[in-house]
Amino acid sequence: MEMINLTIDGQKVQVPEGTTVLEAARKAGIDIPTLCYLKDINKIGACRVCLVEIEKTRGLQPSCTYPVSEGMHVKTNTPLIREARKAVVELILSNHPMECLTCNRNRNCELQALSKQLGITDIRFQGENTTFPMDFSSAAVERIPDKCILCRRCVAVCGKAQGIGILGATERGFKSIVAPAFHRPLAEVNCVLCGQCINVCPVGALREKSHVQKVWDAIANPDKVVFVQTAPAVRAALGEEFGLPIGTIVTKKMVAAIRRLGIDKVFDTDFTADLTIMEEGSELVQRIKNGGKLPLITSCSPGWVKYCEHHAPEFLENMSTAKSPQQMFGALVKTYGAEKYGIDPARIFSVSVMPCTAKKFEAERPEMKASGFTDVDAVLTTRELASMIKEAGIDFAALPDEEYDDPMGMSTGAGLIFGVTGGVMEAALRTVYELVTGEHLEKIDFVAVRGLKGVKEATIELPPVGTVRVAVAHGLGNAKKLLDKVKAGEQYHFIEIMACPGGCINGGGQPIVSSAERMRLQEDYRAMRAKAIYQEDKGMIMRKSHENPAIIKIYEEFLLKPLGEKSHHLLHTHYQPRVKYRALANQEECKE
C-alpha cells in the first residue's frame, strides 16, 4: 500500500493511503474531538465537531471523512477551529434538555465530556426546544428522543451491523428525529431488542428498561429469598465500570459484591450453560442419527431468536428446542434449587445478571413459566449491577475473592466460553466428540471457530457419525449472510448464531466503551474481552460440560437423562413466527 506524507500541527506523519485526517492525527498523538464519528461504525461527517483547517481548501473540513493526500498541511487547533467547534456544540446544547444530574448517562456522556473539553461555560443561544414522546413500550429498550443529538450512530449499527434498520432519521428541520418508521413504539415493530443502539449512543437517548428497583424491593422484602445467576460475559466486563482495564476478569470480586448487596445465594449461569450443552448436544446427535431437521441452530441468544421469529421464520424448525442457559436456570432454581435448599418456590425471587438487553424480553415470554412460577423475575444488565454496587457504597477493588454457592454455581470452561462468539460451538464440540466417539479428546481448543471474523466454518471428523460441518455467525448482518448460504444449498450440521457483534462480551447490556476510548485502544475491545474469557477457560481444571460433577449429579437425582421427560418439561421450548411489518400482516396471512 502506498504511504502518504503529511504535516499535522507542524508534525510530519506518514500513514497508508485512504487514512482519514482524524486517524492520521491520532497517529501523531493528537485527539481531534468528535461526536457523530464511531470507529468502524459511523463515519458520515454529520456533526461538524471534528473540523480542521486544511491548507488550500476553502473553509473548515470534517477530519473524520477527509482522506489524507501527499504533502497536505493540516491545522487542528487554531482560534477559528476552536470557535467553530464551540459554536457547533453550543447549537446542539441549545436544543438539548439539560438534565445531566438525573440522566442515566451522567458522567458517562460524550456530549457532556465534549462540552467540558471545549470549555463551554454558558449557553449563548437560547431557543425553543423540540419535544417528542418517550417510548417505554418494549420490555428491554427505552427511547428518550428529546436527548437525541441526531448523530445517527444507532441508525448505522442497527442498519449496517445488524442489517435490521429499525431506527432511521425521520422528518426534517426542527421536527427531525431518529425513530422507527411512522414513529411506531418499539414493542410494535420488528426490533429484536439487542441493545446495540444503546452501546453506541453518545448521550442518554437510548437505555435499557431498569429492573434495579424491583431487585432492591425483593432484597428488602423479608418474605423473599433472592437467588442470583450471573452470565459468563458479565465477569469479563464488569470491572470496566470500576476503572479496571478492559479484559480484566473479576469473577470472584463480583460474587463478593453481589453477596454484599444482600443477595441470599449467588449462582453461575455457566452451570446451565453446561446443561445446555448436554441437552443441545444430545439434540444434535439425535437429529443427525434420526434424520431430523438440519442444520441445528443454537437458541441461546434471545436477540437472534426474536430475529428468527420476525425475519427468518422459515428457520424456526432448525432452532434448537433447548432453552437458553438463563431460562434453564430459572426453571431449575424454583424446582431443583427449591428442593435442595428446602425453600417454598413461591418465596424465591430469581434474578439474572446478563450482558444483554434482549434477556429482559426473553424472561417475560409467556412460555417461560415451566416451574409453575415466573422462572426469572428480574434481569439486570452488567451496567445495572454496577450501578447497584456503586449505590451500595461498596469499594469494589478492595473486596475479597469469594466463590459461587453450590451446587448451581459449579461450572466448566465450556460453560464460560458461551460468552464469546464461537464459544457455544466449541463447548458443544468438546462434549459431543467424547459422547459420540467414546474417545478422550486431547486437543480441546477449536481455534477455527474463535475470533471476530463475521462467518466462521469448520469441519470435524466424528466417527462413527462421519464428517460434521459447522458454522458460526455473530452480528445479525452476518447471520443473514450465513442463512442465505444455507438457503442457497450449503450443507451444515450445526450453526451457532449470536445476535451481537463479537457475541455476549459485546452485548447490549455491557459497559459502554466511548468513541474516544475505541479510538485510543490499540486492539478491538471485543477481542480484549474475549481474550480474558479464553485465558480463564485455559486455567480451569474442568473444561468439558459433561465432566461437571454438579451436572452429573443433577441428571442422577433430578433430570435422569438428557432429552428425558423432565428435561422436556423444564428445559425445552418452541418459538413462533412474528410479523415483520404489521401493516402487511393481512397480506402475509393471505399467502399462507
Partner: protein, 166 residues
Amino acid sequence: MSCQCHGSTGEENEKFKVIDRIIEAHKGQEGALIPVLHQAQEVIGYLPEDVQAYIAEKLGIPLSEVYGVVSFYTLFSTEPKGKHVISVCLGTACYVKGSGNILAEFEKTLGVKVGGTTKDGMFTLEACRCLGACGLAPVLTVDGDVHGRLVTKDVAEIINKYKTGN
C-alpha cells in the same frame, strides 16, 4: 380455498399488483426508491403505511429508510389528498412579499390548517419551499398551475374557480 382474510379486498390486491409493476420496471437500479415512490403516489394518490412497507420489502431495504425519505420530502404524502392541491410558497422572497397572509387567508376560507384536506375532499392546503418563481412572488400552485403576484382578495376567486371547474 379463496382468501378469507380481512382488509385485503380485491381493490387492495390490485394496489399491490400496480406497485409490483412499478418495481419491476426499476429492478436492480441503484437509487430506485425515489422514482418508485413517485410513481406509486401518482397511481394511488398517497403513500400509506402498507404501501411503504410493501415497497421496502420488495426493494429489500428497511421500512425506516423508506419512511425517512417519504417524511423528508414535502412532495410525498402519507394522507389521501383532495381533488385539488393548493401549494403556497413560503420561500424567502414570497414570504417577504406576504405569502404568510395568503396562506392564513386560505386556512380561514377553507376551514383547514396547512397540511389538511377539506371535509368535502375538494381541496388540500399545503405550504411548500421555493418554487423558483420569485419574480411572481407571492406565488402558489394549484394542481401544478402557477398563480403569481397574489393579494389576499385573490384567494376566494381561486377557490371558486377550481370549485366550479371554470
